[in-house]
Symmetry: C2
Amino acid sequence: MTNILNKKIGIVGGGQLGKMMIQAAKQMGFWIAIIDPTEKCPAHSLSDFHIVAGLDDKNAIKELAALCDVITYESEHINAEALIELEEKHGATIYPSPKSLKIIQNKYDQKTELHKNNVAIPYFLNVTDSGDLPSVGNELGYPFMLKSATGGYDGKGNYLINSPDDFDEGYKSLGAGTLPLMAEKFVDYEMEISVIACRAICGNIKVFPVGHNTHVNSILDETIVPAPINKQTMELAMDTAHKVMEVFEGVGIFCVEMFVDKKGDVLVNEVAPRPHNSGHYTIEACVTSQFEQHIRAICGLPLGDASLTRPVAMINILGEEGFDGETLVEGVSDALAVKGAKLHIYGKTHTKPRRKMGHITATADTVEEAAKLCRKAKKCIKIIAKEE
Amino acid sequence: MTNILNKKIGIVGGGQLGKMMIQAAKQMGFWIAIIDPTEKCPAHSLSDFHIVAGLDDKNAIKELAALCDVITYESEHINAEALIELEEKHGATIYPSPKSLKIIQNKYDQKTELHKNNVAIPYFLNVTDSGDLPSVGNELGYPFMLKSATGGYDGKGNYLINSPDDFDEGYKSLGAGTLPLMAEKFVDYEMEISVIACRAICGNIKVFPVGHNTHVNSILDETIVPAPINKQTMELAMDTAHKVMEVFEGVGIFCVEMFVDKKGDVLVNEVAPRPHNSGHYTIEACVTSQFEQHIRAICGLPLGDASLTRPVAMINILGEEGFDGETLVEGVSDALAVKGAKLHIYGKTHTKPRRKMGHITATADTVEEAAKLCRKAKKCIKIIAKEE
C-alpha cells in the first residue's frame, strides 16, 4: 500500500462530499479509503480502497481505522458511539471529535451547548411527549417549529405548528414519540446565511466569507457570496462561527447556518460538523476550498488562506420530478456554453426527485452577474432516468 | 458500467497529465478508463478502469476503444500507427487526430508542416547520416542544434554542436544513426515562452495567455503568467498558437513552445499535442483549466473561457538527486504554511533524480509576488526515497 505522504485518510461516506474531499486530497497526493454501502457511489472510483458497508457498521469502521492514520466523515448521521469506542479503546485518530459529533447529532443537546456558551440561538424547549405541546405553545407562541432532535436534514424532521390544531399531525409526522423532539420559537428571519469555518488541531481557526442561502422546498437552492448584508452583520456572523468552532473544539470544516432577523441580529439555526453544500462555492472562489481545508485540518497541516478571490454564486442541480431510475444527464453542452459556468456532476448512478445530483458555480465581477450565469446554465441541465 | 453523461473517455497513459485530466473529467461526472504499464500510476486510483499494459500495446488500445466512446492520450510517444488503424478500420473516435500525431511525433515532419504553412520556425535541415554534418555546419553556422527527430523530451535528444569537433560525440549520443536526425540553426533567444491552445471539433479555437518558461538542466522549472513581453509580442505568440492549431487541425489541448529572439520575433520551437507542464498554472489561474478544456474538446462540448483571473507562477518539484526508490515527500507542512501555495503531488510511488513528482502554483497581485510564494514553498519540499 503506497503512502508517499505518511498519512492515510479514511472517510466514512462516499457521497458528493466524500468525493470532493478526495478530489482535494488526491491533488496533494494522499491515499484514501472510504466506507459506503453503494458500490458505485460518487467517491468510489476516486478512492484507493472501498469498504462496501453501511455507515453504521462497527466492523467496517474498525477495518477503516486499521487501514488509515486519520478518519473523518461526510455525514453527521453515523454511528458516533462506534467512533467514540474506536477512539477510546483502540487509539484511533478521528476528526471532528466523535464526542462533539454526538452532541451535535442531537439538536437539543447541540442548542443547549451553544446556549450555555452564550451563542445566540432561537429560544427552544424540550418536548418529551405530545402532552407537552400545549404548554410549549403557550411559552413559544404561534407559529412555532416542532423538530425531531435527531436525524433530520434538508427540512426533513421539521414541522411548523401554526396552532394547536396542528399538534396531532405534527406529532405523528415526526415519529409519534419514537424520536426525541424539541420545539423552537419561530424566527421571522430576513435572510438565511451560513459560514464555513475550520479549526486546526493546534486550535487555529479560519473563517470563510458569509454566504446567503436560498432554499426551495427546504432544500438549498442557491448560495451567493458575499452575502448582501452590512459589515456589522457580516462580522457578527463570522465571529459567531468562530465561537461555535471553539465551543465544539471542532477539528476540520464545520458549517454554521444562521438566521439574520429583522433587527440584523444573528441566530444560529444549525451546526453541521463537516463540509457543507453551502460551501461548495469555495472550490472556485476561494484560495483554499472547504475540502482542501478539511483535509489540511484533519491531517495536522497548516490551514490555507480562506479569502474570497471573486464574487460567486452556486446553484444546486436536483433530480427532476417524475424520474426515478438510472441517471442520465441532459443539456451538458448547452450548460457549458454559458461562459464561466463550472459544472459539477456527482456521479450518482440512481436519480430520484429532488436528490442532489450536482451543482453549478460561476464567478463574476458581481454576485448578481454570477447568479445570472448559474441560473442560465442550470436551466439547460435536466437529470432524468434512462428508459428501461 | 455506469455512464451518466453518455460519453466514456479512454486515456492512453496514466501519469500526472492523465491524472489531472481525470480530476477535471470526474468533476463533470465522466467515466474514465486508462492504459498504463504501472499498476500504481498517478491516475490509477482515480480511473474507473485500468488496463495494465504498455502505451504501445495494440491489443490494449483495442480493448480501450471497445470500452470507450472517445480516446485521447497524455504523451506523444505512443503507437500512432495503432491509433490510425483503430480509427480507420474500427471507426474509433480519437482526439487529437492520430494522423496529426504521427506528423508531430517526427520533429522534422512537424517543422516541415509548420514551414509549409508559413509558421515562423528556426531554419532547419534534414540529417541522413554523419557525413551530412560538415555541410550542415556550413549552412547553419556554429553553434547549431543536432536533434533526434523522434522520441526526445525534457532536453533528451538534443545536442549542441559548437564546432566540427563535436560531430562524433553528438552523433553518437543521439543514437549513431539508429534514430532519424535533424539540425536546427541555434536561436540566441531572449526568452522561452509557451502558449496553450485548444481546438474544438467544430473548429472553434481558444488560446490561453502566454507563459514565460525557465528551464534548469533542460527541464521546465518555472512558468510565470502573464509573460513579461510587450503587447505586440504577446499577440504574435497567441496568433502563432492559433495558426498551429489550424495547421494540425488539432482537437484538444496543444502546447506551442516558442522562442522570443532579440528582435522580438517569435519562432516555434516545438509543438506537443496534449496538455503540457507549462499549462498547469491554468488549474488555479484560469476560468477553465487546460485539463477541463481538453475534456470539453474531445467530448464535443463547447470550449470554456480561457482567460486569466490572476497573475500566477508555477514551479516544478523534481525528485532529489541521490534518491532512487519508494517515494517519500518531506516538508508538506512547511510548504502549506506559505499563504496561497497550492501543492500538487502526483502520487508517483517511485522517485528518481529529476523525475517530475509534483508542482506548486501560487496566484498573487503580481507575477513577481506569485513566483516568490512558489519558490518559498518549493524550498520546503524534498522528494526523497524511503529507507529500505
